[in-house]
Symmetry: D3
Subunit: 130 residues, 6 copies
């Protein structure tokens, strides 16, 4: 089956359904995002990706909101439209206010600017940072 | 003057010295990073960049540590060696522990992976995220 | 003429038509992709780009399917929607099965993840790889 | 412990040693690369990353050499120096000749060029590729 | 207010209106682009970004058209659809002909190709360029 | 022969020597850059790349200096250290003053910032730019 159509729960294999159920239980949602429905075309990728995301995004030394905001920041930096939309929603659901979003965007923009200034001016690493 | 040498405080113009002093005062450091010493070759860029960084990185809806970690995450994602070194130091100075760093890295890595999965599987944005 | 409209064979200059014919003959297609119809706005770019692609993508030490898959992998990594769509089609036409696509995507995703881990952990190159 | 030093087998915890042994066994090498010695600073990342790489890089619908070459192509495209060095070595070890490397490089270069041409000419996706 | 709707002049605060008026006066346009209407959700970002753009894009050692073309080149290289559209329009308005656009695109494409060739062949910097 | 050593003129094949001579004649230099000495490991890539660069970088609707500056801007944006060094030298040789370089860097930095702002704020393309 080509991967240009989403695999819905009702059409999914038992293995895929098990993953969908775990996602829904963990995230307390009614249905999984399109992202998982498309990854379901390659079950091993679906299983491994969900396993990794579940482990990585659980609160730890960083709380869940901070992790969602870092995920959003990277997605904005990389310019992935799907990811910006879905992780923007996830971050807001985790507690990101519009003021926090505005500040996150300011940091992401500035970091992308100064990264290029450091590149172009060929700045050597300070000994203190080696 | 070509920009392959850093401009030290002692050789700097009054305009550049004023910026260096504000950086040192704001960050409570003895000397500014190489980044600023190289930007000093183009004073208008130095003035504007420091002004923006100072404004953006001040604690607001997001605290200073969270901002430093987002800055580091973007720098890692972009692969800028200078920025990874200097912002890694800044984040640790602001309170990032090694456990936090490890979790930040895990999120940055995973986001870069799933951004490409979303690209390659051509996942359409869910209506709920429009 | 602005470049927001495609140049169709019927409206093309003799120089552009010659390129279109060579593309169609080489790829055994009825009509060229939009990509070539838009590049046709700058004939020297069209001529040079097709010449390069034709030379590079011919089977050699790497077979044509492997080359198409590498092209798709880079396009996915860069997040170019047009390229992902057109090179996905080209790779499937050259023999990429859905199982191969799933494995290619897994590699592209993982490589993008570990590239950032290597960046952020500032891993020095092993002497054996110098 | 900060992550600016590698963790050698002799100083590693049992959990990390188990991963190092699996890497060495799977890859038939005497010692693991620096990449794993640095990831060892965050054992959960080491465990998960090795688990994913081991699963993804095993021969399947794509053989191991093709997978190594895709990994190298993405690393070249992203400009990660560590990854280019280590995956270049891995691909050569898996059977990539210098002629294959030259052709891989030509494809990676061309794909990066045409990705931008497609971006800048704002080429719409052909209906046949939707 | 979430940032999925543009802020029009009529609904804007006095601070935001002042920025909109300065943009319209400087650029001699009837209304500002969507970009500014969305940034208006975070007034400090709007103020700072317009201030920077106004300063940076004014004719200096480089004329305004050259600056617009560099801005477009970077936007094409990064693959930002909004930016390619808006900066393409800005560059044409500043005097970029279709022939200039074609040549700019050829340079952007080639630079993206040779950047990867330099990466992958691991070319050391010539002493003369240190 | 592996590609970790440069191929010098004295050790080059007649085909490679012919390309080196054309580069030296066109650029009025005593010896070619390392970039060409490494590409020489894959003669077809050397021939095609030099042919393309020679054609693209010749003065046309854009003069040679403007083309060199665009090339440098893209290289800075992509963060390729070799390219930033070599194209910085080429641009200066073509007439780029330090004041021009400073302004180019300011534009490159700003474009990378606003590209991400446009991404993250999900700004729709204005009808006038379609």
């Amino acid at each position: 089956m080509p991967s240009r159509t989403p695999i819905e729960y009702r059409d999914a294999s038992p293995q895929v359904r098990a993953v969908f159920e775990d996602i829904k239980r963990t995230r307390r949602v009614e249905d999984v995002n399109n992202f998982w429905k498309y990854l379901a075309h390659h079950p091993s990728t679906l299983v491994r990706t969900w396993g990794s995301v579940k482990e990585i995004m659980a609160a730890g030394a960083l709380d869940a909101l901070t992790k969602e905001m870092i995920y959003l920041a990277v997605s904005v930096s990389n310019g992935c439209p799907y990811c910006i939309a879905s992780h923007g929603a996830a971050a807001r659901k985790a507690g990101m206010s519009e003021a926090m979003f505005g500040e996150l965007m300011a940091v992401v923009g500035m970091a992308n600017e100064t990264n290029r200034l450091a590149n172009g001016y060929r700045v050597p690493i300070d000994p203190a940072f080696e």
